[in-house]
């Protein structure tokens, strides 16, 4: 049996790694986590997040860690359709983790065929994106969240 033990250690390590990664990626607060080794099970349960539109074309809204008071929401300044990229097929203006400068364009809200840029109110990193590409937005609707940039060492 001794030669199974290193294998088992690997499995456990792998499971732990898997569980940690999953927990880091869930879109809501963690409710339950179970890991097993024999027949390898990993179960993760989380609470319904506040704004969770279903993922459609791969641009799913990313997670947010709650209770971060330094976060700033970037909200829709008008009623229209939110676009993440300057035009169809182009790269999105920002992704999760991107650092943005104050007034940098992070998206577009189209209304009456006019493209209105949405700009970052201050410097920061994109911590969450709440709205899908092509989704209709209301005035004041949260589009993105910016976390403060990590302080320079």
């Amino acid at each position: 049996m001794t030669d199974q033990q290193p294998e088992r250690a690997d499995v456990v390590a792998a499971l732990r790694e898997e569980a940690t990664e999953l927990v880091a990626r869930i879109p809501g607060p963690l409710h339950k986590l179970s890991v097993a080794a024999g027949d390898s099970v990993v179960t993760v349960e989380w609470a319904e997040p506040d704004a969770a539109p279903p993922a459609t074309n791969g641009t799913a809204p990313a997670q947010e860690t709650p209770d971060d008071d330094d976060r700033v929401a970037v909200t829709a300044p008008l009623v229209g359709t939110f676009y993440r990229a300057p035009e169809p097929g182009a790269h999105p203006f920002v992704e999760i983790g991107a650092t943005v400068d104050e007034e940098q364009t992070v998206g577009i809200v189209e209304a009456m065929k006019l493209m209105n840029p949405v700009t970052a109110p201050r410097r920061g990193t994109v911590a969450a994106i709440h709205v899908h590409d092509g989704e209709m937005v209301e005035f004041g609707q949260p589009l993105l969240e910016l976390a403060p940039e990590p302080a320079d060492a």
Binding site: V79, G80, M112, Q141
Partner: protein, 448 residues
């Protein structure tokens, strides 16, 4: 019939339109500012779109967000209510350009009627009686003085782009004219974006009698009798009733005929109101036309049994009116009081706030049109109308007694909240009003 209508308004009229839509099986979209996010129209509509912060110019008057909301929610039509964009031809045009049916007259008709000097000219051409005055704006104070000398004082200066009783200034005598002219022009420029004024003889004592009209796409135009709105404060209506105590069957027929003639002559469609002044000799004079549904429309609904908002929706959807002129019979008497959040003991200063207690009246012949409820907050940003109490009874005295009964039951309480309920009850018990003799000078003459 429309599948979905967006209501470009708030408060009690938004609720009124939503109710008419629901009865016709039409889905509704409410637009709201941040201040109205928890309001009853938003709760009752099938969908709601947050269109801006509290200030009206960035929400209920902000055309791009409203039109975008209509287009993106797939609305077929837009109902503008009263006030806000209801008489804005630019808004009506944009709606049409975006494939939305605007529930109201065409932009062209709106422009004609919205310029009050032009409206005077058109109605004169249609054969309606007009008070002596100008049908073009007066260029300057000298021209105004020349005209006024000719007509005789007192005269009244009115903004051509005015509405809702604003932009009106009386000139009692000649030497006051230049000053009043400059002030009124400046005021009109600031408030309406248009300083042009016209001039008219002023009747110190007259009755404000307005006629409700309805016209469909085929051009069938009917009238639904008159409303007497003489009890006003600073040209703002406070109490309305139908029929008018000063109008008999013969006069009603003549007023109705004039109103229909005027509406027909400009190709009017939808619901509208022709305002007249009835002088002490029983002669009537065209004042202005309101090309929208009005605050006091329930008064006519109660005496005729006609749902005016439903007719608006039908007409806009291309359907004929559901009634003919011969079907219109005024039965009984209806009376409306506008309960405002204002302090009558403090010059009617607005007194909004959170409503801790809100128990409207009920019972026979009693209708309350309101968007308010206990726990709601009256925002300070908009008009002060809290509720319209409308009663019906078989004859006038019974209606006045019923209104007093209803107002006495109405409980509205909140920190800092004052209403005009007690004031309305004083109007109702005033002997001149009771007799049916209240004219436009009623408040200042009999109720100070």
């Amino acid at each position: 019939m429309f599948e979905k209508v967006l209501i470009a308004n708030r408060g009690e009229i938004a609720l009124r339109v939503i109710r008419a839509c629901r009865e016709l099986g039409i889905r509704t979209v409410a637009v709201h500012s941040t201040a109205d996010a928890d309001s009853e129209p938003v709760r009752l509509a099938d969908e709601a779109v947050h269109i801006g912060p509290p200030p009206a110019r960035r929400s209920y008057l902000y055309v791009p967000n409203i039109v975008e909301a209509a287009v993106k929610t797939g609305a077929d039509a837009v109902h503008p209510g009263y006030g806000f964009l209801s008489e804005d031809p630019y808004f009506a045009e944009i709606c049409a350009a975006e494939g939305l049916t605007f529930i109201g007259p065409t932009p062209e008709v709106m422009r004609l009627v919205g310029d009050k000097a032009t409206a005077r000219r058109l109605m004169a051409d249609a054969g309606l009686p007009l008070l002596p005055g100008t049908t073009e704006p007066v260029g300057d104070a000298d021209e105004a003085t020349a005209v006024a000398d000719d007509i005789g004082y007192p005269v009244v200066l009115k903004a051509v782009a005015g509405g809702g009783g604003r932009g009106i200034a009386v000139v009692p005598e000649r030497d006051e004219l230049p000053d009043v002219f400059q002030r009124t022009r400046a005021h009109a420029q600031q408030v309406f974006g248009n300083g042009a004024l016209y001039l008219e003889r002023y009747l110190r004592r007259a009755r404000h009698v307005e006629v409700q009209v309805l016209a469909d796409a085929e051009g069938t135009t009917i009238h639904l009798g008159e409303r007497d709105c003489s009890v006003q404060r600073r040209h703002q209506k406070l109490v309305e009733e139908s029929p008018s105590p000063a109008v008999d069957e013969a006069l009603r027929a003549r007023l109705g005929e004039a109103a229909v003639q005027g509406a027909r002559s400009i190709g009017y469609r939808g619901a509208g109101t022709m305002e007249f002044l009835l002088d002490e000799d029983g002669a009537f004079w065209f004042m202005e036309m309101n090309a929208r549904i009005q605050v006091e429309h329930p008064v006519t609904e109660l005496v005729t049994g006609v749902d005016l908002v439903a007719e608006q929706l039908r007409v806009a959807a291309g359907r004929p009116l559901t009634i003919a002129q011969d079907d219109v019979v005024l039965r009984g008497h209806a009376n409306e009081c506008r309960v405002n959040a204002e302090d009558p003991d403090n010059d009617f200063l607005p007194a909004p706030g959170r409503l801790d207690v809100f128990v409207p009246p009920g019972g026979p012949g009693t209708r309350v049109d309101t968007h308010c409820s206990a726990g709601a907050t009256i925002p300070p940003t908009y008009d002060s109308l809290v509720a319209k109490v409308i009663v019906w009874a078989p004859y006038r005295q019974a209606a006045l007694d019923r209104m007093d009964r209803a107002l006495a039951e109405f409980r509205i309480e909140g920190a800092g909240v004052r209403t005009t309920i007690a004031f309305h009850r004083r109007v109702l018990e005033n002997p001149v009003f009771r007799k049916g003799d209240a004219a436009t000078d009623f408040l200042e003459t009999h109720m100070t």
